[in-house]
Symmetry: C2
Subunit: 349 residues, 2 copies
């Protein structure tokens, strides 16, 4: 990773932008000294912020725009009216090869819509998906689609499997990640038509993928596989169900420690270990949902994140760019085509 | 609740049957002194077990059969070959008005298939659903369908809403439970066609239901609504994702307490409070998934449960029978028909 990379930032996206974006970039700069930043946003606000971060300023360029996409804006409106927005211009920097990737903590729907229109999908990919990763008992679990596609057919699911596997290799650094299809049972007869057909294709085709087969909801946190493949409706609901349960458990735990003086002293003694646990599930360490399947790297940071979380999202974009994410997906898609030629019966339905 | 009730038990279903079933019935007898039990299973095994529980024996009748449905058996095979099985005979006791409800910890698919064939669906209900409840931050959340129907249309979802609402009133004892439709966003434009159409019907129809609108995955644990309505594919995956996350968090917590001597002593001091937390999320307190929409009460206990969990499942059946669950659903279905007459445009699509 000797070459320099450029990451485009939507400096006006996110609840705490632009301060959070500049501070996040400054944190990322420490971790990735070979990265230059291209910041899109209000120069009058960005310049004084950058002046406080001298080392960041040295590797940053500001492109002024006073327009930005609000959180309440509908994606269709943002597409039409947001052509001069910081979000749109940052994405266009990737299309125009001025940057290797774009990071935004702004409006998710608008970012998805703009990224699709501006970057377009990779050859062989029908629909982009949203992917992220979070802690499991074993290590870390990659999951997609997290909400970009409400209804998916078997072709979409097979393509998600390929993209998720490449993501696990590129971003998590796994050598030979295993892939599972989310279903309501492990038997081959269970599930809807799309998952059954996708299962048959992934089983038969000579893909360079370690396909585990069907998994169930409790396998996500258990870490039974490295990559969980599902449609965007189920994936979004599963992810948010997990997030809600973590909050429930944290609240029950906090109430338990407050319930008696002994529990309270117990908490004080265990605090250091419990803080480590908190760090282990800290959402800021897992910030950054990626739109995969596009002809460019686009990372969505959580809108409510702080500088640390935004730096994590930048890190995801840097890892993807530095490790050749797009080229790897293209190579896998070619091997899928080759596998289909060898197995004409395994044609994607 | 002065009248006596009879509950039919599949005494041979479950990993630890028949001991667990008899001990569970004995625990339930203490809580419900007005219940008689009709046990179906191997008399040679059941009689010595009942002899140890004198008070239970006094309110129990054994119907001998040496046949039972195994956990590995396919539902279709159990339907054909299991006509003399303890599971089938216990369900038939409900059909024949010998018992007000049946409880089994046996093969889920077989129980569902047999219950559908033997009990049939209630008038106006197209498909039965599987419902259960579990703890939320606010109180308790009822959710359905948990896996009986992989694909659902808007009619199914509306019927699930009605049945879930009656379940929350009858079993949890809520006066006016709120109902939410699980979706990937709260806006009316989001989601698949089935949830959008169901949303429109529930909003328009003059149902005696407190309909909240769409909810997201994290609302399940948050307790935003009392009843969560979804299709069986999503519901099964959401439920198991939640169960898996509780296990993940428990394991992380246990590792944290073992990670240092201070944390260890902290655990000992907080143990009593942590045990209360454990009880609060104890799955045995939430045992019993119910097949609703059938012309009879059928409760599925977890196969791996112990006597305490089985007693909980019996309690669910008793609550449903004693509080007139079936009659309440019939009344709601009639009011739905009346509402449709008033609002011809809100016809179920």
């Amino acid at each position: 990773m000797a070459d320099r990379l450029t990451i485009a930032l939507d400096a006006m996206g996110g609840d705490a932008a632009p301060e959070m974006v500049v501070l996040g970039a400054d944190l990322a700069r420490e971790r990735f000294p070979n990265v230059d930043f291209l910041l899109f946003g209000d120069e009058a606000k960005l310049t004084p912020l950058l002046d406080k971060c001298g080392e960041l300023r040295a590797v940053s360029t500001v492109r002024h725009t006073s327009e930005f996409v609000s959180n309440e804006e509908k994606p269709s409106h943002a597409l039409r009216a947001g052509k001069g927005s910081s979000m749109r211009l940052a994405i266009e920097a990737v299309r125009d090869h001025e940057a290797e990737g774009v990071v935004s903590a702004g409006n998710t729907g608008a970012l998805m819509a703009m990224a699709k229109v501006v970057l377009r999908t990779l050859p062989g990919i029908d629909r982009p998906a949203m992917v992220s990763y979070f802690p499991s008992i074993r290590s870390e679990t990659v999951m997609l689609d997290l909400g970009a596609n409400i209804e998916c057919n078997s072709t979409n699911l097979v393509q998600f499997a390929i993209m998720g596997e490449v993501f696990a290799r590129t971003v998590i650094g796994l050598e030979k990640p295993s892939v599972g299809l989310l279903n309501v049972g492990e038997e081959e007869l269970k599930g809807n038509d799309a998952v059954k057909a996708a299962h048959a294709i992934l089983r038969q085709a000579r893909l360079p993928i370690r396909f585990h087969g069907f998994i169930e909801g409790d396998d996500i946190a258990r870490g039974t596989v490295d990559v969980v493949v599902t449609d965007g409706f189920t994936g979004n609901i599963a992810l948010k169900s997990i997030e809600g349960t973590v909050k429930l458990f944290s609240q029950f735990l906090s109430e338990a420690f407050k319930s008696s003086w002994a529990a309270n002293i117990g908490y004080l003694l265990a605090r250091r270990a419990l803080n480590k646990l908190r760090m282990r599930v800290d959402p800021r360490r897992y910030n950054g949902a990626v739109f995969v399947g596009l002809n460019g790297i686009a990372v969505k940071s959580h809108g409510g994140t702080d500088a640390l979380g935004f730096a994590t999202a930048i890190g995801v974009a840097v890892d993807m760019a530095a490790n050749g994410f797009l080229d790897k997906i293209k190579a896998e898609m070619e091997s899928l085509d080759a596998a289909r030629l060898e197995h004409p019966k395994a044609a994607v339905s």
